[in-house]
Subunit: 353 residues, 4 copies
């Protein structure tokens, strides 16, 4: 019997982020299946081989999946494989790679990001053109990749057509398209389209496919959709410190997520709970929802003292210190009861204001 002890309340849930959640029971069950005996490490195991088919069922026969540890790793490895050292990435100023990865792209991979302010976290061909120029000029780090996030860091969505339009613009410019899909499942569920409609079919070249926020213990995958767009993946995954030793335990989680519809069930639940939350708080005087609620994020403004009182009961983040805007996120394990309790707490604390 293990010497470790349970130190937390397994019933407590909040709205701070979808990575506060734990591991979905079906995923946990899969981890147990993969245990026991010996398997070759570093991806030579049978689980990693099998999961390729599972990814290909979603993303097409050209797709290859490269399991890695985390989202920052997935983004850095994928971008590195798309770029020569003198090339640059155009992305939204709000992109996770720019704001929340501790400078990993620049500091660990020498990648130059050219950022564009956007109203809603979404790039357009026009916005891309603000930075995608100077081709052939040695004084300008050469724009080579456009990186977009789906769903975006602001909870908004690109439609398949919008992604296809960006992909066409990239091809027109001789550039490639990268998609940070740490919440791609939420986007596909919200738009009611298959995963490939937002990626392979829309012309995305390389994808970071999110697992952790969809109910995995750990694990993301770089999915190369256009084999001509990525060089040296095996080497870069290793030298970027993202090659898992006992990779069978990453791969089997993706099998659990993607072999059936777990990815979709989890995403639908999170999205539905965000919609329920938005509806509930819209009815509370003094609380205003500030952005379109398209996936599993709700952005809102409420008085700071009320926010602080709610926060003592359920942790969540302030998104913008200057405006007091807060972000509430739902997860695969958020229940209607969780939402209702939280909305009630907001209402109570607002009533104190």
């Amino acid at each position: 019997m293990t010497e470790a002890r349970r130190h937390h309340d397994p019933e407590m849930k909040g709205f701070a982020s979808d990575n506060y959640a734990g591991v979905h029971p079906e995923v946990f069950e899969a981890l147990a299946l993969a245990n026991g005996g010996h398997q070759p490490p570093y991806g030579a195991d049978v689980y990693t081989q099998r999961v390729q088919e599972v990814f290909q069922r979603h993303f097409g026969p050209e797709a290859s999946a490269w399991p890695v540890f985390n989202g920052t790793g997935a983004n850095v490895v994928g971008l590195r494989a798309m770029l020569a050292p003198w090339e640059a990435v155009v992305c939204a100023q709000s992109a996770h790679i720019n704001t929340d990865e501790g400078g990993a792209p620049e500091q660990s991979a020498g990648i130059k990001l050219r950022t564009v302010p956007t109203p809603d976290g979404k790039l357009t061909p026009e916005l891309i053109d603000r930075e995608a120029w100077g081709f052939g000029d040695e004084h300008r780090a050469q724009p080579k990749v456009v990186s977009i996030s789906e769903s975006t860091e602001l909870g908004t969505l690109y439609t398949p057509d919008e992604i296809a339009e960006i992909a066409a613009h990239c091809r027109h410019l001789g550039m490639l398209l990268h998609l940070d899909g740490s919440r791609l499942s939420n986007a596909a569920a919200a738009l009611d389209v298959p995963l490939r409609a937002l990626t392979t079919d829309a012309g995305v070249d390389v994808l970071s496919f999110g697992g952790t926020k969809s109910g995995l213990m750990f694990g993301e995958a770089v999915v190369v959709l256009n084999p001509a767009a990525a060089r040296g993946m095996a080497y870069l995954r290793k030298s970027s410190m993202q090659l898992a030793s006992k990779m069978r335990f990453v791969s089997v989680q993706f099998e659990a997520l993607l072999a059936g519809d777990l990815w979709l069930r989890n995403a639908r639940n999170a999205n539905a709970m965000a919609a329920r939350l938005a509806a509930a708080v819209r009815g509370i005087p003094g609380v205003s929802v500030t952005r379109a609620v398209e996936a599993n994020a709700v952005f809102a403004v409420l008085p700071g003292d009320a926010a602080d009182r709610v926060r003592k009961r359920f942790p969540f983040y302030t998104w913008d210190e200057t405006t007091g805007e807060v972000r509430w996120m739902t997860a695969f394990d958020t229940t209607e009861a969780d939402v209702d309790a939280f909305a009630a707490a907001v209402a109570e604390e607002m009533a104190q204001a």
Copy 2:
């Protein structure tokens, strides 16, 4: 019920590497304990906070543990925290950081390694002096860190005194001492000393403490023993892509390993099985054990065709293509029956020669 399936034989075990093994049952049990409900990510969870005490019980009250994903990550983050960008590392030519990390130190962190050939994978003050010079000369990347491995990549061990002597030499030179302890537990078990005898008490400044090869699913820890020796750990772990989102699942595994004596039981078993294997194959005509068997590795030479026939039954690696030397490793889950079956296979195939 999960859609994932078991694809492997959970009884099959080999001697290729200790990372072919899976997860120890007590560790798996701990993962389940940590699941459920919400916990703050990125190390703000209660498991990561608690595990600090567990590490401090082993490594002293000054120690701080920084869970990361894998061994390459632990080494790169730890070294980065010890080095200014113009400083260099002195290590054995056979060091894992030089030979088996795909160039991660150089390519992802700009770290210069100055390598010294050694007979047995072990540095000495004399060997260190071959590269630790040129202090103050801007033309020479400044030697700042000595990195040693315990146990070494060649299956040999440093005694506590040998490490202390190297640490004293480092201090004399104004340098710091890093220890790659991916198999530190095996060393401590073999030498029958506590973990701190080889690290804190010997004067090591920063340690990579191995979890994966000791029975964890994934996870290593950078353990800072000398707080003055490492800067920016929190930032470097993030920008080196080693900050786990759901860190509770890394930390609880370390609790399972280190709160009691699981680390020691696992290491002792692996070491004992290596000794048993060495004894068994030493008795087989035509097989010679080439290096001291001090931890859980056995190096041997046998005819190439016999080796190839054995390899079809049990996978293992050729260590040196030029001499045909092979490496056999034992793990926490290797049993006497496994060893005996393997030794019998070697004997059978040698008899065919």
Copy 3:
């Protein structure tokens, strides 16, 4: 007698950039003085030692000057010395380090730039605050340095008070101030203040001091004004490939520039010629000067076909492809006759429109 031949017309001058100009005769004369005999390389020569006093006369007794090859090198070395690997730079989106250095800061030094759009190339405390936040958050590359350019890439100037206000804001935030002074001489001349009024006295910590655009053959200097703000300068200059072998020939040029008032005479001439040019073209119907002419740059808009015809006679650059805005720069060697001939050409070609 040399086998080299003159291949160009030494009378031909244009308005494309101040680095189209050659070497000022007094500088050339200085190069000859430093020639002959042997001198220690890499800055141990007597010229490099002597030029420290010359720099200190301008920038104060705490200043140390580190000659390097070019402006990109000066910026990268200076910034590297101010930053830990996990720290970031806040700069204007139009900053040379962001737009025209081929990604050198990111690709050769792993430096993250956080860019802020500005109307006129100038930062303010308010604009800095848009990116200078998140202190202590490991997910955000830590803002540590503000970098401004004087004069700016858009030909505008900071007053001493404006720089002092930014420096105070930096100190308030725990940040440092870097100044890209490739055209600092032009700024000081235009504002009629000594060099130190815009740097040392205003609270700048580290300066890139421009030589090439002021009439040197090659050579810039990183000038460390606050010794506590820069670490490892000697090592970083070497490992950033900016350590000149025969450094006496860089240093003696700075002696020629700064021991007397050559820097001021050159800058005043360039500024005066820009003013003369602006005045002349403002009188040409259809040509409009688009930005304040505060140093040695004139930005203007004129019809594209007229611009193209003028360009055949005198090369210059289009600054903004979308608006057709062009940039005309004057240099230390621009004469009134050069300006008048150019303005006449513009007038002629406009008359053809």
Copy 4:
């Protein structure tokens, strides 16, 4: 008249290094020719265009020359253009890129060097094989380039056949050959062969061609001999901070050096003076010459106190602190009188011993 002053004795010469020397008069004359008027910067000038033909006359019609600032820059830019980020360089442990470039390859370009100890600074196919293995293994930074120095850092020479044999071995392994030719002229002069015999004709892919040590003020050139072997040269030169603004002044120096036979005259003189020096000191009791004197370096051992007394009169470097071995180098401007005076000083101080 310049404000700069002569601060040194233009008659004083020593034997510390060939970069203690100044600028050859013919080169200085060439600099004057290139001055005056305006020329496009960054290599678009007429001198840089013309000098291509001059290089092609020496290195063949496929050669392209990329002037840079210094030797470290030439090596880093050339190697970077040959390598993907996951690839490595095999070189002698004594190679300048490993020992004397302050870690620039690793720290500024992420390049992994795999070093091989050698008796005389020279690699052979057998020595290369010690590190050139593991192709296709993601755990091993992929060996892609072999880098040799001609003449070597130990004053030894490769014959054309030896270089051709290494080049053939590289091709056999799928690798490329880089040559650090900071003293290539000395080698060609010593072997009495054209420059291309040691480079283009021998199968070298990319060359660092030395100018500074051959009598230039500053300037080296990356010469791409095999266009298929180098990618992104223009971009990498810029982002490696090696793109000279007023490049005409680098290029015209190479024209002076290479359009006629100045390179050969300079090299022959330096070599002859080294031979003269070796002969002279060989006759002094207690002094022993320790290595073959094949180019312009003399390595010797003499008692430390005598060495110190000589050093007070003529500066030179100790090469190996442990053995007391010293290095004496001759330059383009070393005269017979200089050699004789130095040898006399050695004899005098040895007589004091």
